[in-house]
């Protein structure tokens, strides 16, 4: 970078704490916009019309906005589930497996206790927490006690969890009245969280997810525990030497992270699909993972990024419907966004004087 420009950037950054953040957000958006224009042009369509379609599809109507927010919830929760272990330096890709285990265990609770109006929902949520947490604790235990790489274990457990769900929805939990469609019985109304906008899918899980993000942020930045995670991440031996437990903290972050992903699983199952089906995790786990890393594991920065991802996903439906573009278009746009954010981030960091 030109010296005088770099210098000016430094003084600006010193005066305005938000300067660096907005600079990277702005430049990433610009790169994303330009790259998407090229992509649309390659499709042989007018890029500006398609952009209009994209925006109006995701944000242009009440329906669009609620759909965007609906998609934001699981992405946000899965991102939080990834970011928390990352605060201890653990790289997990297991959100989707924990999502399925939450859905699986929560559904089991509904099948067992669904008839009880007052107990069904709390039991369902508790079971989902437990299931997700368990699916996080297994790789956590292997990592803490046996130094087994947590990334590989969480990756493989994703397949196990999704197959477990398939096993029950094709098997013993299948509702025969579905005429062969692999799904459980429809959940009773009383296990669904209250909906925020009448007639839409938007449920109060959104508020729950936002509250979890804020709570995590406050605890991580204000508490001794948050500081101890940073110390252990930076130098594990030293942290253990002054009295912090590595094993205990691995269990905590993996367990809590898993429980959060498990919550997203049962919310999708009960509030969106209304029953357990195959393949409900879509790409939420992976998208959440990328959102967490784009946000630098910052619990608050995750929120807007999850929203943008939600918008892209929901506009994918619009592109498919109105512009007759294949469904994969949204996925391509999503990857363009990731690449823009990561590349501009790296580029800007290079210009920063150490």
């Amino acid at each position: 970078m030109i010296p005088s420009l770099a210098l000016r950037r430094k003084t600006l950054a010193a005066r305005f704490p938000w300067f660096e953040g907005s600079l990277s957000a702005l430049s990433a958006s610009l790169v994303f916009f330009l790259a998407s224009l090229i992509f649309f042009a390659l499709l042989g369509r007018s890029p500006f019309l398609l952009f209009g379609e994209l925006l109006s599809g995701s944000l242009g109507s009440t329906y669009g906005i609620t759909e965007t927010l609906v998609k934001t919830i699981p992405i946000l929760l899965c991102a939080l589930a990834t970011a928390l272990p990352a605060r201890l330096g653990l790289l997990t890709v297991g959100a989707s497996g924990q999502f399925y285990m939450g859905a699986w265990c929560g559904t089991a609770a509904v099948l067992l206790f669904g008839s009880s109006h007052w107990a069904a929902m709390p039991l369902m949520l508790l079971a989902a927490f437990a299931g997700g947490a368990f699916w996080g604790l297994v790789p956590g235990f292997l990592r803490a006690k046996l130094e087994v790489n947590e990334t590989l274990v969480t990756l493989l457990l994703n397949y196990v969890a999704s197959l477990l769900v398939d096993w029950v929805v094709y098997g013993s939990w299948r509702d025969t009245s579905n005429l062969g469609w692999p799904a459980t019985i429809s959940f009773p109304e009383w296990v669904k969280l209250p909906f925020l906008v009448h007639g839409s899918h938007l449920h109060s899980g959104l508020i729950l997810a936002l509250a979890i993000a804020v709570a995590l942020h406050v605890v991580l930045s204000r508490s001794r525990w948050g500081l101890s995670l940073r110390i252990l991440k930076s130098n594990r031996k030293l942290g253990e030497g002054v009295g912090f437990s590595w094993t205990g903290n691995v269990a905590l972050v993996m367990g809590i992270g898993g429980a959060i992903a498990g919550l997203s699983g049962i919310l999708e199952t009960s509030c969106i699909h209304g029953r357990l089906e195959s393949g409900i995790a879509l790409n939420f786990g992976l998208t959440g993972f990328l959102v967490a890393w784009m946000a630098g594991q910052h619990m608050i920065r995750i929120i807007p990024l999850a929203f943008v991802m939600g918008a892209l996903l929901s506009s994918g439906d619009a592109l498919q419907l109105y512009a007759q573009l294949p469904e994969a278009t949204a996925v391509v746009l999503q990857s363009i966004l990731f690449c823009s954010v990561l590349a501009t981030g790296g580029f800007l960091r290079r210009g920063r004087t150490p």
Partner: protein
Amino acid sequence: MKGITKRFGELAANDQVDLDVGEGEVVALLGENGAGKSTLMKILYGFQSPDSGTIEIEGKPVRFSSPRDAMAASIGMVFQQFSLIPALTVRENLQLAYPDLPMVPARGGGRDERLLSHLERLAPDLDPSALVADIPVGQMQLVELAKVLNLEALLVILDEPTSVLTPIETKGLHERVRQLAREGRSVILITHKFEDVSSCADRVAVMRHGKMVENRTAAGLGARELSSLMVGGAKVVPAVRVPPPTREVPLLEVRGLTAGDVFSSVSGIDLMLAPGEILGIAGVSGNGQDVLGACVAGMREVASGEVLLEGVAVQRGNGGVPDPTVVGFIPERPSVNGVAPDLDLSVNLALKGIPRLPFWMAGRKPSAAESLPLLEAYDVRPRDPSRRARDLSGGNLQKLVAARELSGARKLVVACYPTMGLDLSATQAVYARLFAHAQAGAAVLWISEELDDLLRFAHRISVLSHGKILGTVAAEGADRNLLGRWMMGAAA
């Protein structure tokens, strides 16, 4: 180099510095930590460009914008932190740096001979197919040097080459440096050790606060004169010897300590320290010092044995409960073992107290107000509590860890090479604070390679060799030859 000036913000790291080096001449570049030696050399090596001033080689002005340019002008530099790849063999490391290496390097043949010729002269007994991870630090340095010489460097810069070497390795390196000079190569030796100057330098250049304050021949220069040149008007306050304890009540007892791994281990260590006693552990580094220190301090798990502090087991593992609040521990290589590099200096200084903070730290968060006096007292630079530990130089990290471990009341202090990389006055300052704990009644276990310092300040000296204590003597009137034999591994 003429009139070199380099500023970092307000600070002039180099202020109108002149330096010239003749053919076949060894120049020792001296100065305290932060005097500007490294900056000057980084400019010469093309890492940084000067704000003003010129560099001339054989009368022709040159401008380096990267080390590549400097290498092309036959300047090579060996850094304190080596740039070797531990997982590769010595030969492979040399090949990596060799110019015009073919895609598939053939073994043997003339090329291999040329590749290894410098190394063979520097370290005849080093096996080129050994993994770099497995060879001692002193040999790594020679491999680095061979790498530089392979590039046909005519001017070689060595950055504090002897700070990580054992006395024997140091002597070897001095000989190599003289040898280079005889071949007509020029050498710049960054150092703050007197013995480096006396045994191989032709000329001495001294820097202080960014200025070149002295440039004269090395012959006839005494240690006292040299140290006063380095610190200028400021006087080095030598540490005071603490009188040995009068009563033999054990405060610290180490019983049958066995621990370690394939790289470094100790076995069957028995020690006993009275309150106020300083026990020096002498020995060539790499004989289990790191394991011994970390285990006694309760930082590392023991395989068997006990560490009893006032009769209470404080070792990690084997039923002990470590108590970091009453134990001060300066580990070897503080950059790796002593700090959380990604956290700021405040947190690093407050580290020992953090587990006892309330869950919501609120007003008791580690703060700049608490850490500034400590940074001040131990002369840690930069004095900025918000900087990350990662940004500090080796010497300043050493001071930072000393500041944390030596401030506050301690019952036991374990110090592994506590003055590594420190200049004269900082060394004495750390000694003074270390021994003050003995004065206050703590047991001090002091692991060092500086036999002179051990003999001067410790009460008793034990020699560690191959993970075992070979013998213990009172420091006063100790027989150097006996200690030396023990250090070489000869049993008592």
